[in-house]
Amino acid sequence: MRRVAVLGGGPAGLAAAQAALALGAEVTLVDEGAGLGGQFWRHHDTITDPRLTHGRARFDRLRGALEQATVHTGASVWSADVAASVTLRAFAGSADGPSRRSLAIEADAVVVATGAHDLALPVPGWTLPGVTTAGAAQALAKRDGVTVGRRTIVSGSGPFLLPVAQSLALTGSQVVGVHEASTVRALAAGWLPRPWQLAGKAGELVEYVAALARHRIPYRPGSAVVRVLGESRVEAAVVASLDAAWRPIPGTEREIVCDAVALGHGFTPRLEAALSLGCAIVGEHGARFVAVDDEQRTSNPLVFAAGEVTGIGGADAALAEGAIAGFLAAGGSIDDSRLRGPLAVRRRMRAFAARLERAHGIRQGWTDWLDDDTVVCRCEGVAKQAIEQSSHAPMRAMKLASRAGLGPCQGRTCGHAVEEIMAQAGGRPSGFDRRPILAPIRLGELAGQSGD
């Protein structure tokens, strides 16, 4: 029987597992979250407000199908290898706990569905307590039923800001405003042509817009939080109008009292597993994704990839890609009529993703809102100036000289900003995201692995 491993239990991974099971494969799914669902279906069985979960019936069906599979939750995969077969190694147990179990999963093929995390651009004052990513605001509202502040400003770009504002409002924070960096003109150019491509997503978006109206939340395109103020926590934020390149327009600054700021300028794929499996990556600095063909196959024939690791297109795209990847990983054929549905959705959602990028993609002028001493690398406290000063050095030397990206998050948070600052200073950033170990593990756990 063909063994298929699925790395990630979000929409893409769940759909992959279901499709592989449907073809009779022996499926093992691993996810580091305490529960299944990934970012889209993040929930806790008793705490989560059901109004914050979309497409719950689909999730329940996918989870139900997994009865035939081996499922490891709370299991962080820290190493992934491929030769004649695939080997994933994980530690399972309470997060960062002392006595986690070691797992080794062998398979004939693997589907990498590790998703993405928020991309939040730095702003002066963004290290103050009370500033979180938009995704964190969403995760805390959904998973823990809490909000960081009583008055929150949401700032960044993309349609994801809308569900975040809705969740904050339903969880009890007043949302003072949603500041979308892209100008009305960019939004119109991205969204108005071919509205039928929005099918599926449109209903959800209309619901969020209605929620903004119901909670009287202003939506302000062409503006952003450009500075966060406070002594030991957020006390206010400065909002400015932006030009088409996202440069703040002098004289438009306004101070707004708030106690929380949620920042989200898009998403960045979690490429660690794909990189260590040797998969080819496409794209420029700042927007690098796992390269896949029409069969969701990566540059290694035993490795498939699906969902946000291959491009940012939302949960529907992730579900469709996952279904295709799982089906092919289990030995199915792309011509099989059962794939007609997912293939059509994928086509539509790829067009959607291209429009998302066109309307909301990060423009380079944002670096104008940084000061020389603005902290860019949060872990090591590295300022913009220090990154500029070593911009011409090769990546490794730049990291060692400035210490940017050498802290515990290994550049996951600052990577995009560091690369952009280096590029604007005339440097040539490359491969900021190469990390030998995929997930944080303790040295003692690693030591316990030697000899097997």
Binding site: E32, A34, Q39, H44, D45, T46, I47, S94, A95, D96, G97, P98, H117, D118, A120, T127, L128, P129, G130, V131, T132, T133, G135, A136, A137, Q138, A139, L140, R143, D144, G145, V146, T147, V148, G149, S232, R233, R270, V375, R378, C379, E380, G381, G407, P408, C409, R412, T413, P440, R442
Partner: protein, 80 residues
Amino acid sequence: MIRITVDDERFEGRDGQTIAGVLIGAGRIAWRTAQTGERGVFCGIGVCHDCLVTVNGLSGVRACQRAASDGDVIEREVRA
């Protein structure tokens, strides 16, 4: 309901919440001292490591990932 202590202060939370969820629910949004000041949650999904705490003597635990257990004793981590 669960009870935990953080730097000798008591907090009550709902069963199933993360440590970060319990603290934020109680109005506490910072619990780690970094080079550049106080920190709490930033990414909320285990990626940024801004939320690290010591739990029952074990350091380097991500408060946004670890479910709080009744009786947990939590200490602040300080980075000079």
